[in-house]
C-alpha cells in the first residue's frame, strides 16, 4: 500500500478545505455566525468560472480567473449586505436561519440555471498539469494546495496581528459597541471580512475544482460541511486553527480510506467533530470564554 499517496492527497484536500474553513472561522470570529452559505459560495465561484470561460472564450485564462474572483467577492459582499446586515441586532438564531436560507437560495438558483447538470470546470494552466512527485502522479494543484493554504494563512495572520485593519477586526470581534465607540466603522470591517472570506473561497475553488472538475449545484455541500467541521475542530474563530483543523480532517479522511474504512469516511469526520466538541468544546486553538454574571 502506498501510504504516501494518501497522505499527500489528504493534505491537498485539507489545504483546499482550509481556504474555505478560514472563511467560516473569520465570519464566526467577528459575527458569531455560522455562515452556512459559505460552502455554496465556493460552489457558485466554480460555476461562475465555467460560465465566464464558456461565454467569453476570447478572454485569457488569467483574466477569467480575475473576473471570477472579483465576482465571487462581490457576491459575498452582497450576501452580507442583504441577508446578514439587516439582522445585526436580531438574535443569533435568526442570522443563522438567514444563512441557511441563502444557501438554499444559491443551490436552487444554480440548479435552475444549470438544469441540475454537472458542468466541467475549464482546464487551468500550470496547476492543472499532471506531474509525478515521490511516485505519486496527480495534478500540480494537489501538491500546491497545502502550501498555498499555509502561505495565505501566514499572510492573513500577519494582517490580523500587525495592521490597523487587523486590529479593528480583533476589536470588533471582542466587542461590537465598544469598538464602535472607539471610532471603528464596524460595517466596513465586517464587509471586508466577508470579502476576504469570499476571496479565499474563490481561491480554494480554483484549486479544488481544477482537480475535481465536475460541478453541479450540490458540489459545495460536501466541501462546505468538511471545511466547517475543520473550523470547529481547529477552534472556530482562529485562523491557524482552521488550517490545522482542515489538514487534520483531510488527512484523517484519506487515511481512513487507505485503511479500508471507506464505508465509514463520512461518519469518521463527524465522530471526530463530536469527540472534539465534547472533550474541548472550543476546539484545538479556541479560546475559553466565561459568561459574565
Amino acid at each position: 500500500m502506498n501510504i504516501l499517496s494518501y497522505l499527500i492527497r489528504g493534505l491537498a484536500t485539507g489545504g483546499q478545505f482550509a481556504l474555505v474553513a478560514i472563511g467560516y472561522t473569520m465570519v464566526y470570529g467577528i459575527l458569531k455566525l455560522i455562515n452556512f452559505a459559505h460552502g455554496e459560495l465556493f460552489m457558485v465561484s466554480g460555476i461562475l468560472m465555467i460560465y465566464i470561460v464558456a461565454d467569453f472564450p476570447m478572454l485569457p485564462i488569467w483574466l477569467a480567473i480575475f473576473l471570477m474572483v472579483v465576482l465571487t467577492v462581490f457576491i459575498g459582499f452582497l450576501i452580507e449586505k442583504f441577508a446578514y446586515s439587516p439582522l445585526r441586532s436580531a438574535p443569533r438564531m435568526s442570522v443563522m436561519i438567514s444563512a441557511i436560507g441563502v444557501s438554499y437560495l444559491l443551490q436552487n438558483l444554480v440548479s435552475y440555471v444549470t438544469g441540475g447538470l454537472s458542468k466541467q470546470f475549464p482546464d487551468i494552466p500550470v496547476i492543472g498539469e499532471s506531474i509525478r512527485i515521490f511516485g505519486v502522479k496527480d495534478k500540480l494543484t494537489v501538491f500546491l494546495s497545502p502550501v498555498i493554504a499555509l502561505v495565505l494563512m501566514v499572510i492573513l495572520v500577519w494582517i490580523i496581528n500587525h495592521t490597523k485593519f487587523g486590529m479593528s477586526m480583533r476589536a470588533v470581534s471582542k466587542d461590537f459597541e465598544t469598538s464602535q465607540l472607539m471610532g471603528i466603522k464596524i460595517n466596513r470591517v465586517i464587509s471586508i471580512t466577508f470579502a476576504i472570506g469570499a476571496f479565499l473561497a474563490a481561491t480554494g475553488s480554483i484549486l479544488y475544482f481544477a482537480k475535481n472538475t465536475g460541478i453541479n449545484h450540490l458540489s459545495g455541500a460536501n466541501p462546505g460541511l468538511k471545511a466547517f467541521i475543520a473550523a470547529v475542530v481547529g477552534g472556530i474563530g482562529s485562523v491557524p486553527g482552521a488550517v490545522v483543523g482542515a489538514l487534520i480532517i483531510g488527512v484523517v479522511e484519506s487515511l481512513a480510506k487507505a485503511f479500508g474504512l471507506a464505508d465509514f469516511s463520512d461518519v469518521i469526520s463527524f465522530a471526530l467533530l463530536i469527540i472534539i466538541l465534547v472533550v474541548k468544546p472550543t476546539g484545538i486553538f479556541g479560546e475559553k470564554t466565561t459568561e459574565k454574571v
Binding site: K32, I97, G101, I229, F264, V267, A271, I274, L277, P281
Partner: protein
C-alpha cells in the same frame, strides 16, 4: 376566569371545526385529490416542527438533529410493521429480516418514539453541555452519523442496508394522521403549559437566572431534548407512513433545515404558528407552486419566460428569504391562535354587534 373559559370554548370550537373539515375532505374529496397526500405530509411535518419548536423555541436549545431522530423513528416503525410473509421479499438482498414478527400500528409508533428518545438520552449526556452553536453542530453531526451507519450494508438484515423499506403498514386515511399528530401536539401543549414548560421557558429566557431559581439545567435540558426527540421519532414514523417507503437518503440535513424554516415561518415559540406554517409550506411547495416547474405555453404558442424545471424552488427560496428578513416574527411570533381574541378584535374593528358563530381567524 369567565374570559378564560370563553377562550377555551372558542379554541375547542376551532379544533372541532378543523376536525370537521378533515372529515369532510376525507369523505367528499375525490380519491385522486392532492388534498390527501398534502394533508398527510402537513400532519407529519406539523408534528416535526412543533417538536423542534419545543426544543428550539421553548427551551432555547438550538438543535439540528431532527433528521437523525426522524430517521430512527421511521426505520423503527417501518421495520416493525412489515407483515411477516412480506419480510423475505423486502429484505431479499440480505437473506431475510432478523425480526420475525409484525407489530400493530400504535405500539410500533410508540416504540419509534422511544427508540429516538433513547438515543436522545444517550447523546444528550455529553452534547447538551455545549452552548448554542456548538450544540447545533454536534446534533447535526449526530444526525449525519446515524444516517451514515444505517446505510451500511453490514446492518442489512435489520435495516435493509441502503435499500428502501416498503410494504409496511401505511394507513391512507388522513384522519389517522390528524389523530396521531393532534394527540402528540396536544401532549406537547400540555407539557408547555405545565410547571415543566415554565421551567423550559425560564431556561430559554435566562439560563443563569433559571439555575439560580433552583431549576436543574442539565436535567431539564435533557428532559426537553428527550421529549422533543420522542415526538420527532413519531413524526419520522408518520413520514414513513405517508411516503409508503423509507429510505435513509431522505433524512439529510436539508430536511432538518426545512423543518427549521417551517418553525421560523410559523414563529419561533408558537405552536399554532408551526402548524399553520407546515400547511402553507408543504401545500405551496408541493402543490400550489407546482405549475412553476412546468414549461407553459400561451395559446399563441409563445413560451412563458422563466417557467421550467427548478424554477419553483427558486421562487420558493426567495419567498423564504423575504420572510426571514422582513417578517422576522413569522406568522404568529410567539402568540397562539385564539378565536376569542380574534372575535374581540373584529368586534372592535367594526364596532358593530358581534357576529355569532364560526368566524375563522386565520
Amino acid at each position: 376566569m369567565w374570559n378564560q373559559n370563553k377562550r377555551t370554548i372558542c379554541n375547542l370550537l376551532l379544533v372541532a371545526a378543523l376536525i370537521l373539515t378533515l372529515v369532510l375532505i376525507e369523505l367528499l374529496a375525490p380519491s385522486t385529490s392532492m388534498w390527501f397526500s398534502v394533508l398527510r405530509k402537513v400532519c407529519t411535518f406539523a408534528l416535526a416542527a412543533v417538536s423542534m419548536n419545543l426544543l428550539n423555541g421553548f427551551t432555547g436549545l438550538f438543535s439540528l438533529g431532527q433528521a437523525g431522530f426522524m430517521l430512527l423513528g421511521a426505520y423503527t416503525y417501518a421495520i416493525l410493521t412489515i407483515p411477516v410473509d412480506m419480510r423475505s421479499n423486502v429484505f431479499r438482498n440480505y437473506g431475510d429480516s432478523l425480526i420475525r414478527f409484525q407489530m400493530p400500528l400504535v405500539p410500533a409508533l410508540l416504540l419509534a418514539g422511544l427508540i429516538a428518545a433513547f438515543f436522545a438520552f444517550l447523546i444528550g449526556l455529553p452534547v447538551l453541555r455545549l452552548k448554542s452553536d456548538y450544540l447545533a453542530i454536534a446534533t447535526l453531526g449526530f444526525a449525519e452519523i446515524v444516517r451514515g451507519l444505517v446505510q451500511l450494508q453490514n446492518f442489512g438484515p435489520v435495516t435493509n442496508g441502503p435499500d428502501p423499506i416498503n410494504m409496511f403498514t401505511a394507513p391512507k386515511n388522513i384522519l389517522v394522521y390528524a389523530a396521531i399528530s393532534g394527540i402528540s401536539i396536544l401532549i406537547i401543549v400540555l407539557i408547555i403549559n405545565s410547571t415543566y414548560g415554565r421551567a423550559f421557558k425560564a431556561i430559554r429566557d435566562d439560563e443563569i437566572a433559571a439555575e439560580a431559581m433552583g431549576i436543574n439545567l442539565a436535567h431539564h435540558k435533557r428532559l426537553s431534548f428527550i421529549i422533543s426527540s420522542f415526538f420527532c421519532g413519531i413524526a419520522g414514523a408518520m413520514m414513513a407512513m405517508c411516503n409508503t417507503s423509507v429510505s435513509s437518503v431522505s433524512f439529510t440535513s436539508a430536511m432538518t433545515y426545512q423543518i427549521l424554516l417551517v418553525v421560523v415561518i410559523g414563529g419561533i415559540g408558537s405552536i399554532s404558528g408551526s402548524i399553520i406554517a407546515a400547511f402553507i409550506f408543504y401545500a405551496s411547495s408541493e402543490w400550489w407552486l407546482k405549475f412553476l416547474d412546468l414549461e407553459t405555453y400561451t395559446d399563441a404558442g409563445a413560451k412563458i419566460p422563466l417557467l421550467g424545471p427548478g424554477f419553483r424552488m427558486v421562487v420558493f427560496s426567495i419567498l423564504i428569504m423575504i420572510i426571514v428578513l422582513f417578517f422576522r416574527q413569522g406568522i404568529m411570533g410567539t402568540r397562539e391562535i385564539s378565536v376569542y381574541d380574534g372575535i374581540l378584535r373584529i368586534k372592535n374593528l367594526f364596532m358593530k354587534k358581534s357576529v355569532k358563530g364560526g368566524v375563522k381567524d386565520e
